[in-house]
Symmetry: C2
Subunit: 175 residues, 2 copies
DNA sequence: TCCGACCACTATCATATTGCAACCAGTTCT
DNA sequence: AGAACTGGTTGCAATATGATAGTGGTCGGA
């Protein structure tokens, strides 16, 4: 993870920013799990990131303009990590990776349902979700256009995930 | 780069396959540069990959079903690396990464022109390019639909790149 | 005011990965 | 035969990762 530029190729430069094992997972948790504090990212991720790695990635992503850190007024030590516009625009990459993974790898049902919805929703849904993130991370005035649906894309993704989890729990109890 | 699965999340699983600094660059060179031999990939890449890393990535990507290696009839030691359907379907991820990099990072003009065309062409052009790769890598019968344009998407990308390089050379000579 | 829970983050250290350079043996060209 | 080329491998130093424990500080309740 050195910061020397190997070439001016856009794919290479992007890989030098987010091309490691953890950066995109942190961004995924911020986007889809709305985790905004260090502790949330540390303990509520499926993959159990180590605290030093998380600290390093948050620092690096902040330096690179993907995230910004602001103080949490409720607690002097707490910081709130927010996505920048640049960070929000990483969504299509994550969406494509999720779609590819779901098609070709052994994805679990509950963790694949969001990918499925995002895939079916296509770029229109991505745009909707990105605009919701603008409101959430950049401020209420940062939206490009007014909401198009009463239930937000983020809420729909979350509801679908919870429905699968609830269904699995019921099936486990019944079986 | 261990192969232990950290979670069944599609994004995580995808990252475990191609989430390192080199795998996607190798795939990029195969896709856009049509490099099919070890030596081509080793010496004709912008980023100067080390031979042991290249050997490792080719092996790993082959094991994971992204590439296949076949013998080159013209030379007993030479192998030809081809993309599988799974590998071809990585194109949208690369296209999104290229688009993001071009918007937000200091991309050089000649290396950014392909990203620009791919971005402007959108998913329709990606599909066209993917179908061309099916013919090139899987065999003439593997196309999903007949070619839609007389000049292939791959040729258009290559031509645009060469035009920029030629333009730069002319400008250097003139200035 | 004291205590325990919580906060972001760091230190240490073993292991894994990376990257450079030299090297290899078989193959093809001349 | 000999040079040049083929796809690699080996050894080693530098770097990145990851598990665990610990830092100094904050907060809320008794």
């Amino acid at each position: 993870m050195s910061d020397a530029r190997r070439s001016g190729c856009p794919i290479n430069l992007t890989l030098e920013v987010v091309g490691d094992r953890w950066s995109l997972l942190v961004i995924r948790d911020i986007m889809f799990g709305n985790r905004r504090h260090f502790r949330e990212l540390l303990t509520q991720s499926e993959e159990r990131i180590a605290s030093n790695i998380l600290a390093d990635r948050l620092k690096r992503l902040t330096e690179q303009g993907i995230l910004v850190r602001t103080d949490d007024p409720s607690h002097k030590q707490k910081g709130i990590y927010s996505l920048t516009e640049q960070g929000i625009q990483l969504l299509p990459i994550l969406a494509q990776m999720a779609a590819w993974g779901r098609r070709h790898l052994p994805v679990t049902e509950e963790l694949g349902i969001r990918a499925q919805l995002l895939d079916e929703g296509g770029p229109a849904m991505w745009d909707e979700f990105m605009d919701e993130m603008r409101e959430l991370h950049l401020g209420p005035g940062a939206r490009l256009k007014p909401p198009t649906s009463t239930v937000s894309a983020g809420q729909r993704l979350q509801a679908a995930y919870e429905a699968v989890v609830a269904g699995k729990a019921a099936a486990a109890q019944a079986g």
